[in-house]
Symmetry: C2
DNA sequence: TTGTAAGCGTTATCAA
DNA sequence: TTGATAACGCTTACAA
């Protein structure tokens, strides 16, 4: 697509009256080269607006500095926050994020194979919908790039999940709720298969069970959306006309929580938290809106991304990591 | 980072008893190769899990199929929607999006130069903060990749802006508002430099001026955030204690509008739209929440992205394009 | 400190 | 249809 060819090291060399390797050296930090020839080369290179071709370098060094980031859900603003943090951290390491859209319309196996063909240095899964089976199915050969999973769990051995510690998170949340006196909890999940990868419901139920509360109703939202959250709440409330059987609704994320809250208030005239307390997860921007003022849990995004980048850079062993986040108390629960 | 070397065409060739060029041909659609040897090669390649090295291909063809996407604002969910549409469209063309974070902490010039060095086929600016001056300043040489700007205007000649037609959009919005009887409008902008690139305020003011309404108050939000929108609204209302001087507030985007709305209601007990009508822009998910039910304007994201991809693929001339969006009427105005 | 040769894994082009 | 030579622009290793 380019109109005119870019200058090459060889051309700069000729113009500067040196060999092309001297030109390379001028652009290689720490290379042994006379300061004089270095200055000369850089000056000439400047006039020709020469800069080393990173593509050719990648081929020669077999390291692209490219990290493929697989994203499946573009509806949750929380993903955008993760993307921002991740790209910033990668760029600080001179790495580049290649974003791969793997929503339902795309073939995950193809995406994986393609990233491999492009010689990315690593693949990061930033999403929930990737199934462990897909990963084990794919024959990437012995030479596949290392795989990392951000913000969800994975049972596949070749993957290193880096996540927010669900056990710790739910313990903290529930302890708070228990202290506030809530005793009739319910839990709202997202789509089944994706939900389990988060492991939030399991820990939630375990907490109440330990305290003798065995039956924790589950509301299932069909998607992680505001509307789906509202729909699930409506369905549950309509199914119990005899009166509200719960005093607390913990939702798998903020979006669901806000959707539920809107329906509670507008359609059932319920007050939050007096009639029903609501808790979300992620501490999305929306959770802080005065309308919602949602109690939620903030994932340690920066720490998670740091851990990931440390692994990529080889400063840290590629092992599963789960980090504690922070309970964000607001008025909804 | 890979443990074991990937198989190369040469290795497959030896194993299959042919030359490496025959292997290449087996993987080149439309190449002239005997069906028999093609099958043989593919079979052998399969067992060795060989797939062509796209990096080497790029070097040989001088086309990476990489498109750098520069993103500056990760707080607006609308960006996520654009990213989703864009990545999907690129992938359909066998192109890959390299995402470059160019928020305030990063050097735009460096990002530009770096993308060029990586031999991307094109650069797409998906943001508002990129200054025209930066682009004209940079000496990319004659060989720079083509630049495209999505969803904002640009005066720089080398760039092809692809945007939502602000003139058309504001005309449609204002015509509706005029018909509803609003006569005392105000406009809320985001940060000054970024705001002008959108051109929304200019068209807004022009509309009312043509109808004899000269003084349109401007509220300035410091950032494109919910809080900043609320702050701007509060400051304006507190400054006019003698009573509300406006009956309509048009905001540069949905986030600002929602922030303003929350403050109006909770702090000034104003009703929307009875006391003050509110209009946003972008039709973000949040605009559809029953709490806000915001009248807004939906940008033609799909059409814009289609136009961009057509240009990238050479199916369409790289010229400025501005497309009409759609007014989304809800109860707030 | 500098120059030389070989190689990264493809594709383009020509010859057989 | 197939094989061979050259080239893409750089890096690595070694020699001068």
């Amino acid at each position: 697509m380019s109109v005119k060819k870019r200058a090459t090291a060889l051309e700069v060399a000729k113009a500067a009256g040196v060999s092309k390797w001297t030109v390379i050296r001028a652009f290689t930090p720490g290379a042994s080269i006379a300061e004089s020839s270095r200055q000369k080369v850089l000056a000439v290179a400047e006039t020709m607006s020469y800069r080393p071709n990173l593509l050719a370098r990648s081929l020669a060094t077999s390291s692209t500095q490219h990290v493929a980031v697989f994203v499946d859900d573009f509806t949750n603003p929380h993903k955008l926050e993760m993307l921002e943090t991740l790209t910033a951290a990668l760029q600080a390491e001179e790495l580049v994020a290649v974003i791969v859209n793997i929503n339902e319309h795309f073939d995950h196996v193809h995406a994986l194979l393609n990233a491999d063909q492009r010689q990315v240095d690593a693949i990061v899964l930033l999403g929930t919908s990737f199934r462990d089976e897909t990963l084990s199915d794919v024959r990437l050969g012995e030479s596949a790039p290392p795989l990392f999973v951000l913000a969800r769990d994975s049972q596949t051995s070749r993957i290193s999940p880096i996540s927010c510690d669900s056990g710790h998170a739910l313990a903290e949340i529930c302890t708070h709720l228990w202290a506030r006196g809530y005793r009739r909890p319910a839990f709202m999940t997202g789509p089944r298969t994706l939900s389990t990868a988060l492991g939030r419901r399991q820990h939630f139920e375990a907490f109440w069970m330990e305290r003798g509360i065995e039956a924790v109703p589950t509301l299932s939202a069909e998607r992680y959306s505001h509307r789906a959250g509202g729909d699930a709440a409506r369905a549950f409330l309509q199914a119990s006309p005899s009166g509200l059987k719960i005093d607390l609704l913990m939702c798998e994320n903020d979006i669901l929580a806000c959707g539920a809250m809107d329906v509670l208030r507008s359609e059932f005239a319920l007050r939050v938290p007096e009639d029903l307390a609501i808790v979300g997860f992620d501490d999305t921007a929306i959770a802080g809106f005065p309308t919602y003022d949602l109690t939620t849990y903030r994932q340690p995004i920066a720490a998670m991304v740091d851990a990931l980048v440390d692994m990529l850079a080889g400063r840290r062993a590629s092992e599963p990591v789960s980090l504690p986040g922070e309970l964000v108390l607001r008025s909804s629960a």
